[in-house]
Symmetry: C3
Subunit: 398 residues, 3 copies
């Protein structure tokens, strides 16, 4: 892609109203306007093309990008690291362990103490229903107070790297994958996507991926179907968001208890395990009470419950039901692959193998999505700044 | 603050003789001359104003800032990280675990092995009386030898990020807070500061904060009062430093066994828990002998001893004794707040709440203090270089 | 050393054919041609002289250097960090724990997931015979596939930071030490080096150091003698490499069961403990079967076996046998020093003390060796680029 193409994309970005993102956080995709969502995709594409052309978009000469991972992560950690590095920020980990930490005074204090020279704070806190997103908002309020009081020189932008409600960097990277795959955001209109539960021998996987998908994909005029066995409901608030989105965008949001029904004529399938919302609520309560026996009992219960639905597997047979027998298979990775990473899992090896490259492409957009979120939050006039960066023509590799 | 003001501060810096800091370490504030101490404050203020004006003081294009934390740290770790990043250095952690490591050959070797491209080494080693500062000097000697032998291209500067004797980056940040609060270093003359022990339900907190405070604040012509119950004495050597400083600076250093007496007419109060020096010596010995039963017994003993002094709490009642009932309350954070972080602690919630913003400001100076220490150790003619950086006018954010 | 000297070295580099290194990995020294090996030394020397002259060789403005250490490391970790920093890359650790991780799908996926913005991947995986190097090649194949498919924007270069077969950054730094010590690569011709097993109270030390030494030093026309007690054989494949090298270079490779014989008239001695190859194979198998009792039994067996050879110590008496009684003593550090780091070990304290500075110099070249490996793999025309960097004259410290 030539510089002229990049300039053209910058022109398209300039037509979008992303002013609301400036100095704000990125916590839930449905907090953001359609223009802002489009601006993230466009900026991500521009940054990607610039890097591919060896033109650096480094706007920070120094500054910290704080990371707080309360759950293990390799993919998102590297994506965040890559995004920070691309823009010139240095990652500094805040290591608090994985336990639920005290709220209130401690959160306020820690948030300010790590932010004296921080431009961004990325947080993954997805383990406890009702806690992760609330914690992020508490951090956001804390640094807002610190900035208003003149204690912080800059107000660090929060990026939600996965919470109990949404996983916006994942769902946005997923959507960017669809845009790249189908040609444009407009081309997603009318496409059917099946976000389906799938069996896994593990338990307790976060709900933020399916919730993120139905909360985002419904904005693009797609026909979004959520499929899961009874008992694996997602948060009702997010279903409400999906319904509202679908109505506004001219698509649909529906639910089914059959994987096959969801797959029927689907353009895209996203089969993935998650834990029942109610069980996650119970688990959070048990952890709060330090009831370790209760937690163990719950785990056994959940594994037994899962085992009732081993036939919820993305098989070759199910794939034949999809549009032209060749729906795009998606996953946030790592997937539980039958006979590879487990005895029986979310997807058969032959389906997974066929889609390996697309899956890797899907993941490859996350660094750019995160970089775009940061860029739009920290740069007042992003289109002008990108034009300037293009003209500056600073090489990433000399 | 305008560039003209920064230029004025640089002129003031140029009048101070800080040549002794060049290529030297910062281990104890009382190792440094009055001019050098003043130069650190001035440089920190200049660096802060430059950053606030989006002018980067980055003097290193590459280079490592080694960090060795033998005790947990969030505040100091982020301060060190921020300072390194501001100047262009990359932090590389040396992770040796928290145990007392072997001295002698191992120290000499490790110090050199991590220093081939290191410009700074920051060390926190505050757990064992008689060990932390000694270890830092052993590292300092080791890299001096390596540099003299031509093995090291540069002699990394050591910054004491807290030892058993002093906590210079804390006390200097605290003093900078007073300078910002009262207007100037000269304005501290005649002010009364109460460095007081306070009750905490924990035990074994380092003595380096109270020692750092009495060892530094006595230089500014202040009336420094150290208050603690019997049995909570600090190191006699540091008291001797405080007495000598007070005599030279025209202030005073006195001790009392009453928190109320210390607070009487105080301009500043610094109530904080610490462990008895003798107990810490005993603990170091027990650790040396791997006497875990002895350590547990000592812990119980210390908690019981602490519990005799639960009335040593910075309460609203005690605050009314202070100058205009409104002394500046200080703490290195985190504080043990009664009813918030513990049942009963160092300070009541209402006092803490009223001083939250000042406390955060107090902490906010530490990155600049550390950056100033590094700058003065690595730059031969700091005033000229700062002038040059001002003229270079490199933006931190493009 | 002046700029003119650096220019002279660049001219010498230009005469070497290192094109085969471009976009390739550095896994085994014997994978590389003589010109390529020479080019690494020359480039390392040039980078070192540039840094000593405060001229930065930073060719990357951003980009990640992934590090994966499956065994503890301080020296190599800091060397890798220093090299990455010198060239402008930011290290991001991939922390998978020290256990043998699953191969196949997981390796392929992880390798790609961490590489979206990675220019280099450095791996230490030396614990299991038959596994470490194989793992590196699996990673290499994975990122090659990802790059070929267009998923990765760049194909990260792998640098072997120690595997079960070779430790190329160590042996190359060792050789650079000899070049610096004796004057030139040509001056090594005809020198006798004794790579000898030595007693250590620990067990299970990797074989990659002795294997790396005999696999590399035999290329320079040296007389390489490998000495060890019966039962401490190294991998036969590497001995075959050594024999082939010696024949091609006009030197020799021989073995002996006597440390004294190896030391006789040696110019250089490298006494170091390692584990028997067969035992390491057995250990890998036991780990594979999670046979912890078997591992404990093997450990006892190995320690008992070691204890039969306590006289394999680099003593003053043995040193008198060497050329002019003053062979250069080498070690990769840390050494087991009798009476210092253990009761009885690889070397007596007086020998070690006399060679401390040379040993530190030996270690000091590793950052430059790694930087040179990266530089030659990422820069198409290294001599031209170095000339350009010299002319750019960017200062490391302003």
């Amino acid at each position: 892609m030539s510089k002229a193409n990049i300039e053209e994309m910058i022109k398209q970005l300039a037509e979008l109203d992303s002013a609301g993102m400036y100095l704000d956080d990125f916590l839930l995709t449905w907090d953001r306007s359609d223009d802002e969502i489009s601006a993230v995709f466009k900026t991500a594409q521009i940054l990607m093309q610039m890097r591919k052309n060896n033109i650096s978009p480094q706007v920070f000469e120094s500054g910290l990008a704080v990371s707080l991972f309360r759950d293990n992560s390799t993919r998102t950690r590297f994506s965040y690291s890559s995004a920070a590095n691309l823009l010139g920020l240095t990652v500094q980990d805040l290591d608090e362990g994985k336990s639920q930490i005290a709220h209130g005074e401690t959160v306020r204090e820690t948030a300010n103490m790590v932010s004296f020279m921080a431009d961004v704070i990325g947080i993954r806190d997805d383990m406890y229903i009702g806690k992760g997103n609330a914690y992020m908002r508490e951090v956001a309020d804390s640094v807002s107070q610190g900035y208003a009081a003149g204690i912080l020189e800059q107000r660090p932008t929060l990026v939600n790297l996965q919470c109990d409600i949404d996983h916006p960097t994942q769902s946005m990277a997923d959507a960017m994958h669809l845009i790249q795959h189908f040609g444009s955001l407009e081309d997603l209109k009318g496409k059917k996507i099946a976000m389906s539960w799938a069996y896994s021998p593990s338990y307790g996987k976060p709900l933020s991926v399916p919730q993120g998908i139905i909360g985002l994909m419904t904005r693009f005029g797609m026909d979004v179907v959520l499929a899961h066995p009874q008992g694996y409901e997602v948060m009702p608030e997010v279903e409400a968001v999906a319904l509202k989105n679908a109505a506004a965008a001219g698509g649909s949001f529906s639910k089914t208890g059959s994987m096959a029904e969801a797959f029927q004529d689907a353009d895209i399938v996203y089969p993935k395990s998650w834990a029942p919302f109610n069980a996650m609520e119970k688990r959070t309560e048990l952890y709060g009470n330090h009831d370790m026996d209760g937690i163990k009992a719950l785990e056994q219960e959940l594994l037994a419950q899962n085992a009732n639905f081993k036939d919820w597997e993305c098989s070759e047979r199910l794939m034949t039901l999809t549009k032209d027998r060749s729906a795009l298979y998606m996953h946030c990775l790592p997937a539980d692959i039958t006979g590879v990473s487990c005895k029986q899992g979310e997807v058969t090896a032959s389906v997974f193998d066929r889609y390996r490259d697309p899956l890797y492409f899907e993941a490859s957009y996350k660094p750019y999505i995160i970089a775009a979120m940061i860029f739009l939050a920290k740069v007042k006039d992003p289109a002008s700044k990108l034009t300037w960066l293009l003209q500056r023509n600073q090489q990433r590799i000399a």
